[in-house]
């Protein structure tokens, strides 16, 4: 580099510093910028609201219309996800992985909405089949997301959803409902809270590393 060994050494140190800066910044840019725990929690609560609404008949003239329970609750959950998501994620950059995962969940949501709405309107629906469809679709999307993120906890959720789908088809209405409620509790509520806690821990660590 230069004839002077001191200058040469300094230059080499500076070049190594540049190389490590590149590596650190690339890693920093890709580091967990997503925050999705709240979405699982929100949808878990939405499922519980829809189930409660659709299974009770004493809620008055508006809330007593049980056929509205799923379409209305799911639409409200969709709108809330978009509005809160825009507020939360607006300042975070999008990575290819985050876009792929968001696209997958959106496609699943649209498929589920079209399918369940059509089943509801056509009347060709049986509760066990209804639950099995929802559980299988959630299992598929959770599994795909866990493979992308290499996240074992989410893969466990996928397995729970798949198990719920199978059990639902081999059980009576009460057992099937119970399995569905349990799967929602573990894979949406508990997993959502776990995700939010993990994200908060990550943010604290990142804050400490920038201090």
């Amino acid at each position: 580099m230069t004839g002077n060994p001191i200058n040469g050494e300094m230059e080499e140190l500076e070049l190594r510093d540049r190389l490590s800066l590149i590596e650190n910044m690339i890693a920093e840019g890709r580091r967990g910028t997503e925050s999705w725990g709240w979405v699982f929690l929100l949808w878990g609560v939405a499922y519980y609201v829809a189930i409660l609404w659709s299974s009770t008949s004493f809620l008055g003239p508006i809330w007593g219309r049980q056929y509205l329970a799923w379409p209305v609750t799911m639409t409200v959950a969709c709108v809330l996800t978009i509005v809160i998501g825009m507020r939360k994620e607006g300042r975070r950059p999008q990575t290819t992985i985050s876009r792929a995962i968001a696209a997958m969940w959106m496609a699943m949501g649209i498929s589920m909405f079209i399918l369940l709405l059509s089943l509801g309107i056509s009347g060709r629906v049986e509760q066990q089949v209804f639950i099995a469809i929802i559980a299988a679709m959630l299992g598929t999307t959770n599994a795909a997301s866990s493979f992308i993120l290499k996240w074992k906890m989410q893969l466990a959720c996928a397995v729970v959803w798949w198990a719920a789908a199978v059990i639902s088809l081999f059980s009576n209405v009460t057992q099937s409902s119970l399995v569905f409620l349990l799967a929602i509790f573990f894979c949406q509520i508990v997993f959502g809270i776990y995700g939010m806690m993990a994200e908060a821990r990550e943010r604290r660590l990142q804050g400490a590393s920038h201090a």
């Binding site: 040469g8 590596e23 910044m25 840019g29 999008q94």
Partner: protein
């Protein structure tokens, strides 16, 4: 003896190098996110981003989201190419230093 490559002076600046490296990992990033990640001041960050923009290494998009102004930066193809060449040159120089 093979000639050692020269380092691109636009990229060699520490903050500009950090910015380009950050932008390789994301599709686009907001000014405030880049400021937090690099820990630089608004003025310095704006000046360095302008140099990268003038060199054609980053593209800027200004828009309003929920009535708030937002400035988004994304790496261009020539920026990606320049960073790749910079890293190759850096490795070659360091290889030379190790051999010496």
């Amino acid at each position: 003896m093979p000639e050692l490559p020269e380092l691109n002076p636009v990229i060699h600046g520490k903050l500009r190098l950090a910015l380009l490296s950050l932008l390789t990992g994301v599709e686009e990033a907001e000014f405030t996110w880049l400021r937090v990640k690099t820990g630089s001041t608004d003025g310095n960050l704006g000046a360095q981003l302008l140099k990268l923009e003038e060199a054609g290494y980053v593209a800027v998009e200004k828009k309003f989201v929920q009535r708030k102004p937002q400035t988004l930066y994304r790496m261009t193809e020539s920026g990606r190419q320049a960073l790749t060449e910079y890293v190759q040159a850096l490795k070659q120089l360091l290889g030379g230093a190790i051999d010496a």
